[in-house]
Protein backbone atom coordinates (compact mmCIF):
# COMPACT_ATOMS: atom_id res chain seq x y z
CA UNK A 1 0.00 0.00 0.00
CA UNK A 2 2.72 2.43 1.02
CA UNK A 3 4.92 1.44 -1.92
CA UNK A 4 1.98 1.92 -4.31
CA UNK A 5 1.46 5.47 -3.03
CA UNK A 6 5.18 6.08 -3.33
CA UNK A 7 5.19 4.80 -6.88
CA UNK A 8 2.27 7.09 -7.76
CA UNK A 9 3.96 10.16 -6.29
CA UNK A 10 7.23 9.25 -8.05
CA UNK A 11 5.42 9.05 -11.36
CA UNK A 12 3.87 12.49 -10.80
CA UNK A 13 7.28 13.96 -9.96
CA UNK A 14 8.99 12.46 -12.97
CA UNK A 15 6.27 13.76 -15.30
CA UNK A 16 6.81 17.25 -13.83
CA UNK A 17 10.53 16.89 -14.51
CA UNK A 18 10.03 15.91 -18.15
CA UNK A 19 7.68 18.83 -18.66
CA UNK A 20 10.51 21.21 -17.80
CA UNK A 21 13.05 19.43 -20.00
CA UNK A 22 10.98 18.99 -23.16
CA UNK A 23 11.96 21.66 -25.74
CA UNK A 24 8.96 23.84 -26.44
CA UNK A 25 8.99 23.54 -30.21
CA UNK A 26 5.74 21.53 -30.46
CA UNK A 27 3.12 23.61 -32.14
CA UNK A 28 0.13 22.45 -30.12
CA UNK A 29 -0.05 22.44 -26.32
CA UNK A 30 -1.93 19.14 -26.47
CA UNK A 31 1.31 17.33 -27.22
CA UNK A 32 2.49 18.10 -23.66
CA UNK A 33 -0.49 16.21 -22.27
CA UNK A 34 0.14 13.46 -19.72
CA UNK A 35 -1.06 9.92 -20.13
CA UNK A 36 -4.47 10.64 -18.54
CA UNK A 37 -5.29 13.00 -21.39
CA UNK A 38 -5.81 10.46 -24.14
CA UNK A 39 -7.75 10.70 -27.41
CA UNK A 40 -10.91 8.64 -27.87
CA UNK A 41 -10.07 4.98 -28.32
CA UNK A 42 -10.14 3.90 -31.92
CA UNK A 43 -10.73 0.32 -32.89
CA UNK A 44 -8.63 0.39 -36.03
CA UNK A 45 -4.88 0.39 -35.62
CA UNK A 46 -2.56 2.89 -37.28
CA UNK A 47 -1.46 6.37 -36.35
CA UNK A 48 -3.44 9.28 -37.81
CA UNK A 49 -1.14 11.42 -40.02
CA UNK A 50 0.43 14.36 -38.13
CA UNK A 51 -1.52 17.59 -38.60
CA UNK A 52 1.51 19.86 -38.76
CA UNK A 53 5.15 19.07 -39.48
CA UNK A 54 7.17 18.83 -36.28
CA UNK A 55 10.40 20.86 -36.27
CA UNK A 56 12.80 18.38 -34.66
CA UNK A 57 16.05 20.14 -35.41
CA UNK A 58 17.22 19.92 -31.78
CA UNK A 59 16.02 16.33 -31.00
CA UNK A 60 18.41 13.65 -32.37
CA UNK A 61 17.23 10.95 -34.79
CA UNK A 62 16.38 7.71 -33.08
CA UNK A 63 15.55 4.28 -34.46
CA UNK A 64 12.93 2.08 -32.90
CA UNK A 65 12.97 -1.68 -32.95
CA UNK A 66 10.64 -4.18 -31.32
CA UNK A 67 11.62 -7.50 -29.81
CA UNK A 68 9.38 -10.25 -28.50
CA UNK A 69 9.82 -12.27 -25.35
CA UNK A 70 7.89 -15.38 -26.33
CA UNK A 71 6.91 -17.32 -23.24
CA UNK A 72 5.69 -20.88 -22.91
CA UNK A 73 3.90 -20.76 -19.56
CA UNK A 74 4.11 -23.73 -17.17
CA UNK A 75 2.24 -26.89 -18.15
CA UNK A 76 2.32 -28.62 -14.75
CA UNK A 77 1.99 -27.31 -11.22
CA UNK A 78 5.06 -26.64 -9.10
CA UNK A 79 6.50 -29.42 -6.97
CA UNK A 80 5.96 -28.52 -3.31
CA UNK A 81 9.13 -28.25 -1.22
CA UNK A 82 9.82 -30.83 1.48
CA UNK A 83 8.69 -28.40 4.16
CA UNK A 84 5.44 -27.65 2.35
CA UNK A 85 4.74 -31.35 1.85
CA UNK A 86 5.30 -32.20 5.49
CA UNK A 87 3.21 -29.22 6.62
CA UNK A 88 0.34 -30.34 4.38
CA UNK A 89 0.59 -33.87 5.79
CA UNK A 90 0.58 -32.49 9.34
CA UNK A 91 -2.47 -30.36 8.68
CA UNK A 92 -4.37 -33.24 7.09
CA UNK A 93 -3.56 -35.33 10.16
CA UNK A 94 -5.11 -32.69 12.40
CA UNK A 95 -8.10 -32.47 10.09
CA UNK A 96 -8.51 -36.23 10.22
CA UNK A 97 -8.40 -36.17 14.02
CA UNK A 98 -10.86 -33.31 14.43
CA UNK A 99 -13.34 -33.65 11.58
CA UNK A 100 -17.00 -34.45 12.15
CA UNK A 101 -17.84 -38.14 12.12
CA UNK A 102 -18.67 -39.26 8.62
CA UNK A 103 -22.40 -40.06 8.14
CA UNK A 104 -21.82 -43.29 6.23
CA UNK A 105 -25.50 -44.33 6.53
CA UNK A 106 -26.35 -41.25 4.42
CA UNK A 107 -23.84 -41.95 1.66
CA UNK A 108 -23.84 -45.73 1.55
CA UNK A 109 -26.51 -48.37 1.94
CA UNK A 110 -25.83 -50.02 5.34
CA UNK A 111 -24.04 -53.32 4.83
CA UNK A 112 -23.41 -52.84 1.11
CA UNK A 113 -20.18 -53.82 -0.62
CA UNK A 114 -19.37 -50.23 -1.49
CA UNK A 115 -19.58 -49.28 2.17
CA UNK A 116 -17.19 -52.09 3.01
CA UNK A 117 -14.76 -50.91 0.33
CA UNK A 118 -14.94 -47.35 1.59
CA UNK A 119 -14.42 -48.51 5.18
CA UNK A 120 -11.36 -50.50 4.13
CA UNK A 121 -9.88 -47.52 2.29
CA UNK A 122 -10.62 -45.27 5.28
CA UNK A 123 -8.83 -47.66 7.61
CA UNK A 124 -5.85 -47.63 5.27
CA UNK A 125 -5.78 -43.85 5.27
CA UNK A 126 -6.13 -43.74 9.07
CA UNK A 127 -3.25 -46.18 9.38
CA UNK A 128 -1.12 -44.04 7.09
CA UNK A 129 -1.82 -40.91 9.09
CA UNK A 130 -1.53 -42.31 12.62
CA UNK A 131 0.38 -45.57 12.31
CA UNK A 132 -0.75 -49.04 13.24
CA UNK A 133 -2.64 -49.35 16.53
CA UNK A 134 -4.52 -52.27 18.10
CA UNK A 135 -5.27 -55.49 16.23
CA UNK A 136 -4.25 -55.11 12.65
CA UNK A 137 -4.63 -58.74 11.54
CA UNK A 138 -8.42 -59.07 11.50
CA UNK A 139 -8.88 -55.72 9.73
CA UNK A 140 -6.49 -56.71 6.97
CA UNK A 141 -8.32 -59.97 6.22
CA UNK A 142 -11.67 -58.17 6.12
CA UNK A 143 -10.44 -55.56 3.65
CA UNK A 144 -8.88 -58.22 1.39
CA UNK A 145 -12.18 -60.07 1.27
CA UNK A 146 -14.05 -56.95 0.17
CA UNK A 147 -11.51 -56.10 -2.49
CA UNK A 148 -11.57 -59.63 -3.88
CA UNK A 149 -15.33 -59.46 -4.35
CA UNK A 150 -15.25 -56.09 -6.08
CA UNK A 151 -12.30 -56.99 -8.27
CA UNK A 152 -9.41 -54.83 -9.41
CA UNK A 153 -10.54 -51.63 -11.09
CA UNK A 154 -8.94 -50.37 -14.28
CA UNK A 155 -6.52 -47.76 -12.98
CA UNK A 156 -5.54 -45.28 -15.69
CA UNK A 157 -2.00 -44.18 -14.99
CA UNK A 158 -1.33 -40.47 -15.53
CA UNK A 159 1.64 -39.26 -17.60
CA UNK A 160 4.88 -38.74 -15.67
CA UNK A 161 5.81 -35.21 -14.70
CA UNK A 162 9.32 -35.64 -16.10
CA UNK A 163 9.26 -35.71 -19.90
CA UNK A 164 11.89 -37.50 -21.97
CA UNK A 165 12.99 -34.10 -23.27
CA UNK A 166 14.08 -33.33 -19.70
CA UNK A 167 16.25 -36.44 -19.61
CA UNK A 168 17.74 -35.80 -23.07
CA UNK A 169 18.13 -32.06 -22.46
CA UNK A 170 16.52 -31.22 -25.80
CA UNK A 171 16.33 -27.41 -25.71
CA UNK A 172 14.18 -27.24 -28.85
CA UNK A 173 11.39 -29.20 -27.15
CA UNK A 174 8.39 -27.38 -25.71
CA UNK A 175 7.61 -30.25 -23.33
CA UNK A 176 10.82 -29.79 -21.38
CA UNK A 177 10.68 -28.31 -17.86
CA UNK A 178 6.92 -28.42 -17.52
CA UNK A 179 6.95 -26.48 -14.25
CA UNK A 180 9.02 -23.56 -15.45
CA UNK A 181 8.48 -20.64 -17.80
CA UNK A 182 10.37 -21.21 -21.05
CA UNK A 183 11.50 -18.29 -23.20
CA UNK A 184 12.43 -18.37 -26.89
CA UNK A 185 16.04 -17.48 -27.57
CA UNK A 186 17.21 -17.22 -31.14
CA UNK A 187 20.70 -17.26 -32.65
CA UNK A 188 21.12 -14.44 -35.11
CA UNK A 189 22.83 -11.14 -35.76
CA UNK A 190 22.42 -8.32 -33.24
CA UNK A 191 22.66 -4.56 -33.92
CA UNK A 192 26.45 -4.66 -34.39
CA UNK A 193 26.29 -7.62 -36.78
CA UNK A 194 27.74 -10.16 -34.36
CA UNK A 195 26.26 -13.68 -34.12
CA UNK A 196 24.70 -13.88 -30.69
CA UNK A 197 21.90 -15.52 -28.76
CA UNK A 198 19.13 -12.94 -28.42
CA UNK A 199 15.36 -12.49 -28.40
CA UNK A 200 13.74 -12.21 -31.85
CA UNK A 201 13.61 -8.56 -32.93
CA UNK A 202 12.90 -6.50 -36.01
CA UNK A 203 12.27 -3.02 -37.37
CA UNK A 204 9.19 -0.90 -37.06
CA UNK A 205 7.55 0.43 -40.24
CA UNK A 206 6.82 4.18 -40.34
CA UNK A 207 3.05 4.18 -39.76
CA UNK A 208 2.90 1.01 -37.66
CA UNK A 209 2.11 0.63 -33.99
CA UNK A 210 4.68 -1.11 -31.83
CA UNK A 211 2.64 -4.13 -30.77
CA UNK A 212 1.67 -4.86 -34.39
CA UNK A 213 5.33 -4.50 -35.40
CA UNK A 214 6.32 -6.92 -32.61
CA UNK A 215 3.92 -9.57 -33.87
CA UNK A 216 4.99 -9.11 -37.48
CA UNK A 217 8.69 -9.29 -36.59
CA UNK A 218 8.21 -12.43 -34.54
CA UNK A 219 6.49 -14.25 -37.39
CA UNK A 220 8.99 -12.90 -39.90
CA UNK A 221 11.93 -14.30 -37.93
CA UNK A 222 10.42 -17.47 -36.50
CA UNK A 223 7.85 -18.58 -39.05
CA UNK A 224 4.05 -18.70 -39.19
CA UNK A 225 3.58 -22.11 -37.62
CA UNK A 226 3.17 -20.79 -34.10
CA UNK A 227 -0.04 -19.84 -32.32
CA UNK A 228 1.08 -16.72 -30.46
CA UNK A 229 -0.69 -14.02 -28.47
CA UNK A 230 0.89 -10.63 -27.76
CA UNK A 231 -0.34 -9.77 -24.30
CA UNK A 232 -0.73 -6.01 -24.46
CA UNK A 233 -0.18 -2.80 -26.41
CA UNK A 234 2.33 -1.67 -23.79
CA UNK A 235 5.97 -2.71 -23.97
CA UNK A 236 7.38 -4.51 -20.96
CA UNK A 237 10.87 -3.09 -21.25
CA UNK A 238 13.34 -1.09 -23.28
CA UNK A 239 16.98 -1.79 -24.12
CA UNK A 240 19.59 0.49 -25.61
CA UNK A 241 22.40 -1.64 -27.11
CA UNK A 242 24.98 1.17 -27.10
CA UNK A 243 24.64 4.35 -25.03
CA UNK A 244 26.12 6.51 -27.81
CA UNK A 245 23.66 5.55 -30.57
CA UNK A 246 19.98 6.42 -30.29
CA UNK A 247 18.71 2.92 -31.04
CA UNK A 248 16.05 1.53 -28.76
CA UNK A 249 14.61 -1.96 -28.67
CA UNK A 250 11.14 -2.16 -27.10
CA UNK A 251 10.31 -5.58 -25.72
CA UNK A 252 6.83 -7.07 -25.92
CA UNK A 253 5.59 -10.12 -24.07
CA UNK A 254 3.83 -12.86 -26.00
CA UNK A 255 2.66 -16.37 -25.21
CA UNK A 256 2.99 -19.41 -27.44
CA UNK A 257 -0.06 -21.66 -27.34
CA UNK A 258 0.73 -24.23 -30.05
CA UNK A 259 3.18 -24.93 -32.85
CA UNK A 260 6.93 -24.63 -33.09
CA UNK A 261 9.54 -22.23 -34.41
CA UNK A 262 10.64 -22.77 -38.02
CA UNK A 263 13.79 -20.72 -38.57
CA UNK A 264 14.24 -19.39 -42.09
CA UNK A 265 17.99 -19.86 -42.00
CA UNK A 266 18.65 -16.36 -43.32
CA UNK A 267 18.37 -14.20 -40.19
CA UNK A 268 18.02 -17.02 -37.69
CA UNK A 269 20.44 -19.92 -37.56
CA UNK A 270 19.22 -21.68 -34.44
CA UNK A 271 16.67 -21.41 -31.64
CA UNK A 272 16.19 -22.74 -28.11
CA UNK A 273 13.49 -22.73 -25.44
CA UNK A 274 15.29 -21.89 -22.20
CA UNK A 275 14.60 -21.12 -18.56
CA UNK A 276 15.83 -17.89 -16.95
CA UNK A 277 19.14 -19.35 -15.67
CA UNK A 278 19.90 -21.00 -19.01
CA UNK A 279 19.31 -17.70 -20.80
CA UNK A 280 21.88 -16.07 -18.51
CA UNK A 281 24.50 -18.59 -19.56
CA UNK A 282 23.76 -18.16 -23.29
CA UNK A 283 23.41 -14.42 -23.62
CA UNK A 284 25.93 -11.52 -23.52
CA UNK A 285 26.41 -9.90 -20.09
CA UNK A 286 25.26 -6.40 -21.09
CA UNK A 287 22.19 -7.74 -22.83
CA UNK A 288 21.40 -9.86 -19.78
CA UNK A 289 21.50 -6.90 -17.37
CA UNK A 290 19.11 -5.04 -19.65
CA UNK A 291 16.71 -7.92 -20.03
CA UNK A 292 16.75 -10.01 -16.84
CA UNK A 293 14.14 -7.99 -14.91
CA UNK A 294 11.48 -8.60 -17.53
CA UNK A 295 11.59 -12.38 -17.12
CA UNK A 296 9.75 -14.51 -14.56
CA UNK A 297 11.91 -16.08 -11.88
CA UNK A 298 10.40 -19.52 -11.92
Amino acid sequence: MHSFVQMLSRRVLSSCRTHRNVPRIHLSSRSLATEADVSAPSTSSGIPPPSAPKAKKEAPKHTLKTAVILNRSPIITRTPTKFEKSYHAYQSRIQRALHNPFPSEFYFKPGSLLEGKFAAEEREREREAFGRSGTGVSEASQSDGVLEVLGEEEVVKPMPRVHEADIKGDTKSLDRQGERNLYLLVRGKDATGKEVWRFPHGDVKPEELLHDAARRDLHAECGDHMDTWVVSRNPIGVYQPSPSEENYIFFYKAHILAGQVRPDGKNIQDFAWLTKEEIESHVETEYWTGVKDMLSDF
Binding site: S14, T18, E35, V38, S39, P41, T43, S44, S45, I47, P48, L64, S73, P74, I75, I76, T77, E84, Y87, Y90, I94, A97, N100, P101, P103, E105, F106, P158, M159, R161, H163, S173, L174, D175, G178, E179, L209, L210, H211, D224, H225, M226, D227, W229, V230, N234, P235, I236, G237, V238, F251, H255, L257, A258, G259, Q260, D293, M294, S296, D297
Partner: protein, 187 residues
Protein backbone atom coordinates in the same frame (compact mmCIF):
# COMPACT_ATOMS: atom_id res chain seq x y z
CA UNK B 1 7.81 -9.53 14.36
CA UNK B 2 8.27 -12.38 16.78
CA UNK B 3 6.64 -10.42 19.59
CA UNK B 4 3.48 -9.72 17.58
CA UNK B 5 3.14 -13.41 16.73
CA UNK B 6 3.72 -14.43 20.36
CA UNK B 7 1.07 -11.99 21.58
CA UNK B 8 -1.53 -13.92 19.53
CA UNK B 9 -1.03 -16.78 21.95
CA UNK B 10 -2.82 -14.90 24.69
CA UNK B 11 -5.98 -14.40 22.65
CA UNK B 12 -7.96 -17.47 23.67
CA UNK B 13 -10.97 -17.82 21.42
CA UNK B 14 -14.15 -18.63 23.39
CA UNK B 15 -14.94 -22.32 23.33
CA UNK B 16 -18.65 -21.90 23.76
CA UNK B 17 -20.03 -19.53 21.14
CA UNK B 18 -23.63 -20.73 20.99
CA UNK B 19 -25.89 -22.39 23.52
CA UNK B 20 -29.39 -23.77 23.14
CA UNK B 21 -31.61 -24.02 26.19
CA UNK B 22 -33.87 -26.67 24.67
CA UNK B 23 -32.51 -30.18 24.27
CA UNK B 24 -34.63 -32.58 22.29
CA UNK B 25 -34.19 -36.19 21.34
CA UNK B 26 -34.55 -37.16 17.66
CA UNK B 27 -38.09 -38.27 16.88
CA UNK B 28 -38.23 -41.86 15.75
CA UNK B 29 -40.83 -41.59 12.99
CA UNK B 30 -40.72 -44.87 11.10
CA UNK B 31 -42.09 -44.26 7.61
CA UNK B 32 -42.02 -46.86 4.84
CA UNK B 33 -39.00 -45.32 3.09
CA UNK B 34 -35.77 -45.72 5.09
CA UNK B 35 -34.11 -43.06 2.93
CA UNK B 36 -36.31 -40.27 4.25
CA UNK B 37 -35.60 -41.54 7.77
CA UNK B 38 -31.88 -41.27 7.15
CA UNK B 39 -32.21 -37.80 5.65
CA UNK B 40 -34.33 -36.64 8.58
CA UNK B 41 -31.81 -38.06 11.02
CA UNK B 42 -28.95 -36.28 9.28
CA UNK B 43 -30.74 -32.95 8.89
CA UNK B 44 -32.31 -32.87 12.35
CA UNK B 45 -29.95 -34.66 14.73
CA UNK B 46 -30.75 -34.87 18.42
CA UNK B 47 -28.92 -32.31 20.51
CA UNK B 48 -28.87 -34.40 23.64
CA UNK B 49 -25.30 -34.63 24.70
CA UNK B 50 -24.92 -38.37 24.90
CA UNK B 51 -22.77 -39.10 21.81
CA UNK B 52 -20.96 -37.40 18.92
CA UNK B 53 -23.27 -36.63 15.97
CA UNK B 54 -22.65 -36.42 12.21
CA UNK B 55 -23.36 -32.71 12.26
CA UNK B 56 -20.85 -32.31 15.07
CA UNK B 57 -22.98 -30.39 17.57
CA UNK B 58 -21.23 -31.94 20.51
CA UNK B 59 -17.71 -33.29 20.42
CA UNK B 60 -16.61 -34.45 23.89
CA UNK B 61 -13.42 -36.14 22.75
CA UNK B 62 -11.71 -33.19 21.05
CA UNK B 63 -8.91 -32.96 23.61
CA UNK B 64 -8.04 -36.66 23.31
CA UNK B 65 -8.11 -36.50 19.54
CA UNK B 66 -5.90 -33.43 19.52
CA UNK B 67 -3.43 -35.19 21.82
CA UNK B 68 -3.20 -37.93 19.22
CA UNK B 69 -2.73 -35.53 16.34
CA UNK B 70 -0.24 -32.91 17.55
CA UNK B 71 3.03 -33.48 19.46
CA UNK B 72 2.56 -30.56 21.89
CA UNK B 73 1.17 -27.02 22.05
CA UNK B 74 4.66 -25.49 21.77
CA UNK B 75 5.60 -27.73 18.85
CA UNK B 76 2.36 -26.88 17.05
CA UNK B 77 2.92 -23.15 17.52
CA UNK B 78 6.50 -23.45 16.28
CA UNK B 79 5.33 -25.26 13.17
CA UNK B 80 2.67 -22.61 12.61
CA UNK B 81 5.22 -19.81 12.95
CA UNK B 82 7.63 -21.55 10.60
CA UNK B 83 4.84 -21.86 8.01
CA UNK B 84 3.86 -18.20 8.33
CA UNK B 85 7.51 -17.23 7.94
CA UNK B 86 7.85 -19.39 4.86
CA UNK B 87 4.69 -17.83 3.39
CA UNK B 88 6.12 -14.40 4.11
CA UNK B 89 9.34 -15.25 2.24
CA UNK B 90 7.37 -16.56 -0.73
CA UNK B 91 5.14 -13.51 -0.78
CA UNK B 92 8.14 -11.17 -0.56
CA UNK B 93 9.98 -12.83 -3.43
CA UNK B 94 6.84 -12.77 -5.64
CA UNK B 95 6.22 -9.13 -4.81
CA UNK B 96 9.80 -8.13 -5.57
CA UNK B 97 9.61 -9.94 -8.92
CA UNK B 98 6.42 -8.07 -9.77
CA UNK B 99 7.98 -4.77 -8.67
CA UNK B 100 11.00 -5.35 -10.93
CA UNK B 101 8.76 -6.13 -13.90
CA UNK B 102 6.63 -3.08 -13.22
CA UNK B 103 9.72 -0.85 -13.04
CA UNK B 104 10.84 -2.19 -16.43
CA UNK B 105 7.42 -1.38 -17.88
CA UNK B 106 7.49 2.10 -16.41
CA UNK B 107 10.93 2.94 -17.82
CA UNK B 108 9.84 1.59 -21.21
CA UNK B 109 6.69 3.74 -21.27
CA UNK B 110 8.65 6.81 -20.13
CA UNK B 111 11.18 6.24 -22.90
CA UNK B 112 8.42 5.80 -25.46
CA UNK B 113 6.81 9.03 -24.36
CA UNK B 114 10.13 10.83 -24.81
CA UNK B 115 10.71 9.36 -28.25
CA UNK B 116 7.35 9.04 -29.95
CA UNK B 117 4.28 10.65 -28.41
CA UNK B 118 1.76 9.31 -30.92
CA UNK B 119 2.86 5.71 -30.49
CA UNK B 120 2.85 6.29 -26.73
CA UNK B 121 -0.76 7.48 -26.89
CA UNK B 122 -1.68 4.52 -29.04
CA UNK B 123 -0.04 2.15 -26.56
CA UNK B 124 -2.08 3.67 -23.75
CA UNK B 125 -5.42 3.14 -25.44
CA UNK B 126 -7.73 0.77 -23.62
CA UNK B 127 -8.91 -2.21 -25.61
CA UNK B 128 -12.66 -2.69 -25.46
CA UNK B 129 -13.42 -6.40 -25.88
CA UNK B 130 -16.90 -5.64 -27.16
CA UNK B 131 -15.74 -3.35 -29.95
CA UNK B 132 -15.75 -4.81 -33.44
CA UNK B 133 -14.26 -3.12 -36.47
CA UNK B 134 -16.15 -3.00 -39.76
CA UNK B 135 -13.88 -5.54 -41.47
CA UNK B 136 -14.36 -7.97 -38.60
CA UNK B 137 -18.13 -7.70 -38.85
CA UNK B 138 -17.96 -8.33 -42.60
CA UNK B 139 -15.72 -11.34 -42.10
CA UNK B 140 -17.90 -12.74 -39.34
CA UNK B 141 -20.85 -12.75 -41.73
CA UNK B 142 -19.04 -14.65 -44.47
CA UNK B 143 -16.65 -16.81 -42.41
CA UNK B 144 -17.05 -20.55 -41.91
CA UNK B 145 -17.44 -22.19 -38.49
CA UNK B 146 -13.76 -23.01 -37.73
CA UNK B 147 -12.66 -19.51 -38.81
CA UNK B 148 -15.37 -17.97 -36.66
CA UNK B 149 -14.21 -20.09 -33.74
CA UNK B 150 -10.62 -18.99 -34.32
CA UNK B 151 -11.67 -15.35 -34.35
CA UNK B 152 -13.78 -15.71 -31.24
CA UNK B 153 -10.90 -17.34 -29.39
CA UNK B 154 -8.85 -14.17 -29.91
CA UNK B 155 -10.78 -11.15 -28.75
CA UNK B 156 -8.49 -8.17 -28.28
CA UNK B 157 -8.53 -7.20 -24.60
CA UNK B 158 -9.31 -10.70 -23.33
CA UNK B 159 -7.13 -13.73 -22.70
CA UNK B 160 -7.02 -16.30 -25.52
CA UNK B 161 -9.19 -19.35 -25.15
CA UNK B 162 -6.28 -21.75 -25.66
CA UNK B 163 -4.31 -20.53 -22.64
CA UNK B 164 -4.27 -23.58 -20.35
CA UNK B 165 -4.18 -23.79 -16.59
CA UNK B 166 -1.26 -25.89 -15.30
CA UNK B 167 -2.27 -29.38 -14.18
CA UNK B 168 -0.70 -31.99 -11.87
CA UNK B 169 0.46 -34.14 -14.77
CA UNK B 170 0.97 -33.20 -18.44
CA UNK B 171 -1.52 -34.12 -21.16
CA UNK B 172 -1.26 -37.46 -22.90
CA UNK B 173 -0.61 -35.93 -26.33
CA UNK B 174 1.98 -33.42 -25.13
CA UNK B 175 2.67 -30.20 -27.02
CA UNK B 176 0.98 -29.69 -30.38
CA UNK B 177 3.95 -29.20 -32.72
CA UNK B 178 1.92 -29.58 -35.91
CA UNK B 179 -0.24 -26.49 -35.59
CA UNK B 180 -1.40 -25.03 -38.90
CA UNK B 181 -2.31 -21.34 -39.06
CA UNK B 182 -5.98 -20.89 -40.00
CA UNK B 183 -6.96 -17.97 -42.21
CA UNK B 184 -7.33 -15.59 -39.30
CA UNK B 185 -7.41 -12.00 -40.57
CA UNK B 186 -6.35 -9.99 -37.48
CA UNK B 187 -5.28 -11.11 -34.03
Amino acid sequence: MASSLLSLRHINPPLRVAQTSVRYAAREVNTSDPRTDIIRRVLYPSNLRNRASPVGNWRPDVARRLQRAIPSVQAHETIERAWLLHQRHVRKSRQSELDRKFQCMRTAMEKLRELDLQRYRAANELEDPRARSEEELELLKTAKAPEKKAMEARIRGLFPRELRVPTETPSRDGWNYDWVPPSRPTQ
